[in-house]
């Protein structure tokens, strides 16, 4: 598989040369392949948001280089002319509904494609496609985005990024402040996009989300990559979990509780289904 994103020895310093200078990333190197679903976890302030903003050029590395496809970004890169990169790498921030501003839902979703040079009919087609992916009904297209419920607003905002048809989608804590239902629906959308080949990079504090969705998880600690593995490998390392104040997903918690009671399952389960499967297996083995 081809390497889609390469970070090479990346350092980032906020406000260099001022008393408030702050080194947010130190010597970060990562390679991300086409179609991955990568989670980024770590304590607050560990540099997760800074790291993902390197990938679409919102921040430029102080040292080192970021490569996305055939676009290279280092500290010499001009701030303009990043349009191609921004189109390739979609970014959804915490509380994305803050970005809404047009007078109708459809216009707001078409805003991105128009910026990236589509004509109006094409932009509208893409907007309608994106809105149907996130499950916003046709009735709402001509409504003002500000009349919608919180969950609907977030979906419209997410559609605004999906409509740009990015090959890579970055999400920085996309489900904060949603009820469990809303959260699951957003995750389902992300999962579907991933199945269609979109690379997903997601910052999250929710270990259940990591266990159930990601094929790879990177742990950040004080601006450095402290671990880079599959979720199963990460959760098999209690020391690493504790050192980074991470929680355990429910399924893994059950695994360790069972170990504590003297019951050893064959492998760490990542979903509720796997827990059930393995316990059934264990019981039939005993009988």
């Amino acid at each position: 598989m081809d390497k889609q994103i390469i970070l090479k020895n990346v350092d980032f310093i906020y406000q260099p040369d001022l008393p408030s200078e702050k080194q947010a990333l130190t010597n970060v190197s990562l390679e991300i392949e086409n179609g991955e679903f990568m989670a980024i976890v770590g304590k607050t302030g560990s540099g997760k948001s800074t790291l993902v903003q390197m990938i679409n050029g919102l921040l430029k590395p102080t040292l080192g280089e970021v490569t996305v496809g055939d676009i290279k970004i280092n500290n010499q890169t001009n701030n303009h002319n990043l349009s191609e990169l921004r189109q390739k790498v979609g970014m959804i921030f915490q509380f994305p509904e803050k970005q809404l501003f047009e007078d109708t839902v459809l216009k707001d979703v078409a805003f991105g494609p128009l910026n990236f040079g589509d004509d109006e009919p094409t932009a509208n087609t893409k907007a309608i496609k994106a809105l149907s992916i996130v499950g916003v009904s046709k009735k709402l297209y001509d409504r003002s985005p500000f009349e919608l419920s919180g969950g609907q607003m977030r979906r419209v905002a997410i559609a605004g990024t999906i409509a740009c048809e990015p090959q890579i989608l970055i999400l920085d804590e996309p489900t904060v402040g949603l009820d469990p239902n809303g959260k699951n629906e957003i995750l389902k959308i992300i999962h579907q996009l991933n199945e269609k080949g979109v690379t997903i990079i997601m910052v999250t504090h929710d270990m259940d989300v990591v266990a159930q969705n990601a094929n790879r998880v990177v742990v950040m600690n004080k601006g450095r990559v402290s671990s880079d593995s599959t979720p199963r490998e990460l959760f098999a390392n209690p020391e690493l979990i504790a050192n980074n104040s991470l929680a355990l997903p429910d399924s893994v918690q059950i695994y360790y509780d069972l170990v504590h009671d003297g019951i050893q399952l064959s492998q760490i389960p990542l979903t509720a289904n796997e827990v059930v499967e393995q316990i059934t297996q264990k019981r039939s083995g005993v009988k």
């Binding site: 903003q53 679409n56 919102l58 303009h80 990043l82 349009s83 921004r86 189109q87 979609g90 970014m91 921030f93 994305p96 803050k98 970005q99 809404l100 501003f101 805003f111 991105g112 910026n115 990236f116 500000f146 605004g160 990024t161 740009c164």
Partner: protein, 218 residues
Amino acid sequence: MTVITLTLVYLSHSRIKMLLRGVKPILWLIIFTVLIQILFGHGGTVYFHLWFISITSLGIINAMMIFVRLLLIIIIATILTITTSPSMIALGVETILVPLKWIKVPTETIGMMVSIALQFIPTLIDELDDIMNAQRARGVDFGKGKLIKRAQSLVSLIIPLFISSFRHAEHLADAMEARGYSDEVKRSHYQLVAWTKLDWIALLFMILLTAVVVLVRS
């Protein structure tokens, strides 16, 4: 005036670097104003003349005056915000307005408004940053393109900023009411400032200074 400001700078123990940082954002405005003055000022000896542009001695003097004046305003304002906390500024505004109380102006409410406005500036700057990033990610390139395009990209900033300001204001109002705030009740202050001899001297000094400036100018 310059002397007084420099004394203030000295007394406030502030660092020159901090003061200069206050000047930085409006540096262009200053340069622009000064240039306009130099290029379009009239009177005095003419040094250079081209079509509608003329550089004259009075023009240059005016430009210098404006430059110094703007610099002083900014430095004084910066000193105020460095040395005095928002709540103290609000208390000050409230105290100055006390005479207006006799004609039923709600001075305490105005003081509260000033302090809230001052405290929200950093929050709103953060918010603006977030919104700018979100729109950049949707392909907006601020400060590039034709005028119409630029105006459009500003709209995509200002509307969300307004909305989030209203949201903040609503939350704050709810929170304050939940804690029993009402403008009809007489409130006491957390910080008390005693009116000392030094304040009389400062007040007297300011009145004298104002008088002198008015006399000199008229």
